[in-house]
Amino acid sequence: MYPQKLNKIINLFETLPEDERRETLVSYADNAKKQEPREGENFDLVDVRKDEECMDTVGVYLHVDKDGKAQIRMTLGPEVQTLTRSMTAILCKGLEGSTPQEILDLASDFVTRIVWCAFAARRFITCSRASKAFVRFISTASAWRKSRSTAVSAVGPADILSPES
């Protein structure tokens, strides 16, 4: 149902008691910086913007290799909340090596499986913010796919660097 790497992460979270889930989420948030673009990397699509729902800018960088596998990087502004940091880092790791189509096919229920309902229900936006990272990844994959079918035509807010590479 989910790409293998993401599935492993989901399964891990589902076995953890609440305090360890919190610790693991914080650990992902701590390591979110490691998911930033590295020097020399090129991307097929870069989408950096501040969504209305977010406190700060979230950037998603997508590279699809010759085998059609995605590599995703991200940048987060300083005001982005901890849970969004965690979820974005989880998505970068969990979706690495997936195809854009697999990303588009993802069911969003993994967000509550990771964050767990009782925690997410403390504030509606908590879950929504966590999901927001997911939505951004989906929109980036969608823009990439669109760019493949329309060559270099515009794909909304995203910036296509080299759609046919």
Partner: protein, 288 residues
């Protein structure tokens, strides 16, 4: 024009970051962090601080209301708090939730409460110590409060309506766009909207942030007096009701009026716009 105070009415209700760092281990105090970002405490907090989640710890899980006095007693006991403990609240968002938690503690009659001036952001910006170690305190036996002080510091819909009809001071502390009815939610929180936009008839617009400096500390007493007494028409001895969207930003203003300006009879309408803007037949003004 009346002479404005040069000192806060209750300066003891504020502690400065410098003071707190020197008194972290002082007997009789409990530092309480309360945030909007629900994982922020876990990423690091002031040494010795406990975490109180405004929703999970202070609100009833089913009904839109606060916890029972029994649950409040259990919450305090769990954190080693007694009625004699001075609780020093701080948090993110310029102390929104810290003020909300403080107000909730006052609802249950806990009297010894303070705010860390500048909150979490100032503490962090000054590179003061932070830890991830969760402190453990000896459990206390906090007595169950005999009552909740709803009547004294909390306004319900009917009381806010009566306030509006009698032209007594009502302060809307939301953003100007929310007040004017141009948006039905806070900027950046579109999922938390309501069905109708605007404000309670007669309410004055004074966004909560007007009371703070850029570093989230409170403005001096004379400036606060100009804002609330001169511009909002608040008068000592007159009932005042403050509101926002769910009562957190208005807790901040409630703290300013009650503790820094020393006004009595200030109530927080925590039902706020999420109740008013959804209520059938509630009168609404949409002008600027």
């Amino acid at each position: 024009m009346a002479t404005h105070p040069t000192q806060y009415a209750h300066p003891e209700a504020l502690v400065e970051t410098d003071w707190l760092e020197k008194h972290l281990n002082e007997e009789g105090i409990r530092i309480v962090e309360s945030n909007e970002d629900i994982l922020l405490y876990d990423t690091g907090h002031i040494p010795g601080a406990v975490h109180i989640d405004w929703r999970a710890d202070l609100q009833d899980p089913v009904i839109r209301d606060y916890i029972s006095p029994e649950k409040f007693a259990r919450l305090c006991s769990r954190h080693g708090i007694t009625p004699e403990t001075t609780c020093i609240f701080y948090g993110d968002k310029a102390n929104w939730w810290a003020c909300y938690a403080l107000w909730a503690f006052r609802l249950f009659g806990h009297e010894k409460v303070k705010i860390l001036n500048g909150g979490r952001d100032k503490w962090k910006a000054e590179q003061r110590p932070m830890t991830r170690e969760v402190p453990k305190y000896t459990k206390t036996n906090y007595p169950v409060p005999k009552k909740r002080f709803d009547k004294e510091i909390r306004a319900f819909f009917d009381e806010a309506l009566a306030q509006s009809k009698s032209d007594k001071p009502l302060i809307d502390v939301r953003s100007p766009g929310e007040y004017k009815g141009e948006i039905t939610h806070m900027p950046e929180y579109p999922q938390e909207g309501v069905l109708r936009g605007g404000h309670i008839p007669g309410a004055k617009s004074m966004p909560w942030k007007t009371a703070t400096n850029d570093n989230a500390t409170f403005k001096p007493a004379d400036e606060l007096a100009k804002i609330y007494l001169d511009q909002c028409g608040v008068k000592p001895g007159t009932d005042t009701v403050v509101y926002c969207r769910i009562g957190e930003r208005s807790s901040h203003t409630w703290f300013v009026l009650t503790y820094l300006l020393g006004l009595e009879n200030v109530r927080n309408y925590d039902g706020s716009w999420t109740e008013w803007g959804n209520k059938v037949g509630a009168p609404i003004e949409k002008n600027a």
